[in-house]
């Protein structure tokens, strides 16, 4: 068999210190503070990210503010031309971006490719902005001879604060639409995984946006606070933990900014007795353990309804135990490591807590054997059975490859269980019954519902956001919600005398 797994020796080399991108130039941060970027599979150092100062953020906002007037006057059909060019560039560099993603985050290569595709999807959506930005006009809409219309206008400088779990995709949920609408933008990538964004910004530079239209500053809380406190920032988009989501929501909203903050998740996947388990099991496995459980749409609690429990658990554990762990550049690997040591420690603590609280550990993923990568932050698939709603496993976001099985008697109990959670990002039901599926869709309080599908990820043209503590704000990311978030609607009433 001929097989080229792209071994680590062929991997991307030392990136040095990541640069910021401000006013169309890559510049070195002057901050003395920096953070190491680590390959989570090998624990080798990939480079360093500067933790930029608040004054460097202010410079970037100034560049964006200066670029705004000219950019908003650029006709929409011309504003999307750099986006078309960027799409072409991303197609050309598709695998390269995916490979950088694997190295700094730990995803397996197909997951990385999939997220690059989602990145491109959002550019494509934004390319349609001339149609999406059109307003409405009604002749004689106000009175005899008096017309009324609504037009959409850009607002100024927006910013996004990105999470570590999707280093390429998440900033693209926001900035292409914002910029196509005529705004200018500042991206702050996750300081854990800045390399993908740095490479993407090289392509953004190649695509030929005018200087200052899209900017990037690396950093941590100091940079975020500078964004939140600057009056020139019109709105902030955030994806990450609920604690930080609440902080950003509060501090941005009290200063009059628009805010959309996507927080944590605890997603309940319900399996009815009539579910087709042959089809469901591989899909469930992908939901719980794909991206090593580090996605806000990942399954977390497996709710077994009625008599399906024993067979479901046996088959689920069997399939999970056969997943292959390893370095994501190896095409045959199913699961990579967790993205960072701090997160790895937390997931191990949560597993220990589950054991201490009395859940039955059927599959223990702690300290797995991963030949060649024993130093990596690997946690294998972990399955708990007989979890109860009061346990931490049922309530707290773990964000790792940990499945908690709760057994219930009927659909009503399953729905009550999902709705009892403080989070409401996603939930799924596996069933052959249209009635049960409809009931689930109707009653479950979550922003994304899957029917016989474990990762209910909205496409770029649909809104993406959760309910309850999974989302703070009103307009979700992506789709028409994104267009509304990034524009002001102005009503004009006209009478010619």
């Amino acid at each position: 068999m001929i097989h080229n797994p792209h071994l680590p020796s062929q991997a991307h080399g030392d990136h040095g210190r990541v640069k910021n991108y401000v006013d169309g130039e890559f510049i070195d941060s002057e901050s003395p503070r920096q953070q190491e970027i680590t390959n989570p599979a090998t624990r080798t150092t990939l480079g360093y990210v500067p933790l930029s100062t608040s004054s460097e953020v202010e410079q970037a906002i100034s560049a964006a503010q200066d670029a705004f007037e000219e950019w908003r006057e650029t006709p929409p059909n011309l504003r999307v031309q750099p986006l078309f060019r960027l799409k072409t560039l991303l197609e050309e560099h598709y695998d390269e971006i995916a490979r950088i993603l694997v190295q700094e985050h730990g995803k397996v290569i197909d997951e990385a490719r999939g997220s690059v595709r989602r990145t491109i999807d959002n550019i494509e959506f934004a390319c349609g902005i001339p149609s999406l930005l059109m307003g409405d006009t009604l002749e004689d809409g106000a009175a005899f001879g008096i017309d009324e219309e609504v037009i959409r206008q850009p607002m100024g400088v927006f910013a996004a604060v990105a999470p570590f779990n999707f280093p390429a995709m998440v900033p693209f949920w926001f900035w292409p639409t914002a910029v196509a609408c005529g705004n200018t933008f500042l991206v702050k990538p996750s300081e854990q995984v800045p390399l993908t964004q740095e490479r993407l910004f090289q392509l953004i530079d190649d695509a030929g946006f005018p200087p200052g239209v899209v900017n990037m500053v690396n950093g941590d809380k100091e940079a975020v606070d500078a964004i939140l406190s600057d009056p020139r920032i019109q709105g902030v988009s955030f994806v990450g933990s609920s604690v930080v989501a609440r902080y950003i929501y509060h501090n941005a909203a009290r200063r009059g900014k628009r805010v959309q903050c996507q927080g944590a998740a605890k997603n309940f996947l319900t399996i009815m007795p009539d579910a087709n388990l042959d089809a469901a099991i591989p899909n469930l496995i992908s939901s719980f353990f794909g991206n090593s459980g580090q996605r806000c749409l990942a399954g977390s609690v497996l709710v077994a309804v009625g008599g399906v429990a024993d067979e479901l658990v046996e088959r689920f554990v069997d399939a999970a135990s056969r997943l292959k762990l390893g370095y994501g550049l190896d095409e045959s690997v199913h699961m990579g490591p967790l993205a960072a040591e701090r997160h790895y420690d937390r997931v191990l603590r949560m597993i220990g807590k589950g054991v201490a609280e009395g859940a039955r550990l059927l599959l223990d993923g702690r300290h797995p054997q991963v030949p060649g990568y024993q130093d990596g932050f690997f946690v294998g698939p972990t399955v708990f059975d007989h979890v109860t709603p009061d346990m931490s496993l049922a309530q707290e976001e773990i964000f790792g490859p940990v499945a908690s099985v709760i057994r219930v008697a009927d659909l009503d109990q399953a729905i009550d269980l999902a709705n009892f959670s403080r989070y409401g990002n996603a939930s799924s039901i596996y069933t052959a019954s249209g009635k049960a599926a409809r009931e689930y869709k109707y009653r479950v309080q979550a922003g994304n519902i899957g029917i016989n599908l474990g990762v209910a990820a909205p496409m770029a043209y649909f809104p993406f956001g959760g309910f309850k503590d999974s989302f703070y704000g009103d307009l979700h990311g992506q789709g028409k919600d994104g267009v509304n978030f990034f524009t002001e609607r102005k009503v004009v009433i006209t009478r010619w005398l």
Partner: protein, 146 residues
Amino acid sequence: MGYDFPELTSFGTLLRFATALEQATAHLARSTAQVDECAEWRDGLLVIARKHQKRSIQLERMRREWLNEVVLQAIDGMDAGDYVPPLELPPGVTGLEAMATVRFALERGIDFYTDAASRAANVLVGVERAFKRFVRENKRLFIDLG
């Protein structure tokens, strides 16, 4: 020539394997068309080569444009070794032996796409349809070779 035949562990690897299978079969058909004793089948062999080359491009597009987290899932029960086609004609091969090698490669494709289509059925119906079409086309190409 080097081809990347991955282990068949996930839905994504099915498409990567299929792409390599098509490239290898196209190369084999082109090589066979150069064998003097195969002159009478040359047109048919070049049709096979073009068809498989075109499919490899189509499969690469499918992999890049259709796969996302909704459909990334593990598969099992398929051993890549059962489907890898011959990669080169053996040295000093006769015309009949070369033709048999191409037919064997087409059969490998039929076997692979038949088994892979059943795995794809519950994941992405577009891939299932494409694989089933490739099975039908390979059977037709096999018959046309005589």
